[in-house]
Amino acid sequence: MQSKLIFWVLTAVFGLFILFLYGPMIAIFILSFQGPTGGMTFPLRGVSLHWFADLFASSRYGDLGGAFTRSMILGLLAMIITVTVSFFAGLGFRRKFRGSGVLFYLAIISLVMPGVLTGLGIGTLFTTLGLQTNWLLSGLGAHLTWTLPFGLLIMFAVLNRFNGSWEEAARDAGATRKQVLSQVTLPILFPGLIAVALFGLTLSYDEFPRSLLTVGTKNTLPLQVASLTANVTTPALYAIGTLTTALSLAVIVVAFAAIALTGRKR
């Protein structure tokens, strides 16, 4: 009796939490289809694609297309580097080695350092060295300070379920180090690496505080959107939100489909 009651109370709490989590997102999704005369809040005055069209037609929103392209390129680069680098880092961390403790703490610091401060450090480091900050170098580096520690933590989780005797069996069969890596380690860990890729791409694509002082003169999409929040007072802001969220969701769907597909082959 009592446990039934607890179950239903907890179910209700969970439902409210999901509503709290998604409600606002759904609201701006609906509001982005506001009619041309509509405002930033309910009620809807007609349903239209007006504000989406406005994003592409008007110059009021700055270089949105360029910002999107840069964010996409950064995201893809960060993804490739994060997957490769944290894969090898994860493998290296399976054993204790000289300096492993220090490196682990450096990764933790990288993760917990307030993003703006990381940006401040990278920015002033570049200026001091006489370099210009730009999105492809200092910007990318700043993103990696966020995506790499995450990648490492996921690799820890993935390698937890990885049995070292598989590699031993491969070596036993005469495989070289390279063959062990390409024939055994990599294929077995592949679904985990897709998860790392998902994190690398989306964390970079949505990164905001670290980018602030490191991308130089050209904005990424989140920076552009953040600057628009100050002066755009039309549903166009929501239209941007709907578009980037849809893109993020598409990436998640693709990633999960890939994990499911590679997982099923076994």
Binding site: M25, V85, F88, L117, L144, P149, D206, P222, T229, T244
Partner: protein
Amino acid sequence: MTPNRMSQLSVLPFTAILIIFTGLPLLMVVLLSFWTFDGLEYRPDFTLANFAAVFAAPVTWKIFANTLRYAAITWAITLVVGFTVSFYLVFHVRNLKLQIGLFLLCTIPFWTSTVIRMISWIPFLGREGLFNTGLMQLGLIQQPLEFLLFSDFAVIITYVNLFTLFMIVPIFNAMAKIDRNVIEAALDAGATGFQILRTIIIPLSRTGIALGTIFVLTLVMGDFFVVRVMSGGQSSTVVSAMKNNIDQMYYPQAAAMAVLLIAVVLGMVATILRVVDVRAELAK
């Protein structure tokens, strides 16, 4: 090649990137905090003036207190909500597929833009937002509630919305690893549901709680954007004040404040890591 060398070689790219983009910049911030600013540009020096100025200003203590207040309130709420949600998913949703599905439902927003999720609250909380119109239509209030938007309330609710999943994921993982037999053994000893929660589940979830705490505290303490937008510029935290300094080129002062903040943040993280051996638990 020795195993030691192999491992070091394997982590080399990781090490290099983190040293260049985290280690050196961190060092740079520390150095910068000792440099001078003459009103036009900053240059190398060794002065304690920046720290003196930061310590002397009463506003420093105010914004530190404010930052810690935000962090503490957000932490408490996200902990309770995150623990409850994880507890529900792990111990009350029996169907494993449903459990994983609901867990993913909780984590999907993690992969979407925080900026967008933040501005999503504006149409909800404004004077003519959904809450106010809803409450007025129900006849519960006559006047729109003013404290909803551009207030501490708005800041906290946004933090909770953005950061609760950083609590859920690690706590869920820790709870999912609890051996069901251990809980049955406690039942067998006559423990009530509440006793099991207190003596078994909470202690065995402590790694997750510690990790979630680290995430939530550092995210709140590193934020400036939410507090700037959602408080309508009425409230400031360490990073938002620092951002103002940076905008006015007071880099060394900002750096001094940053060093102070980093010391506080790392101190908290180190304390948590000392109490809970997160790395050893992660490896389980």
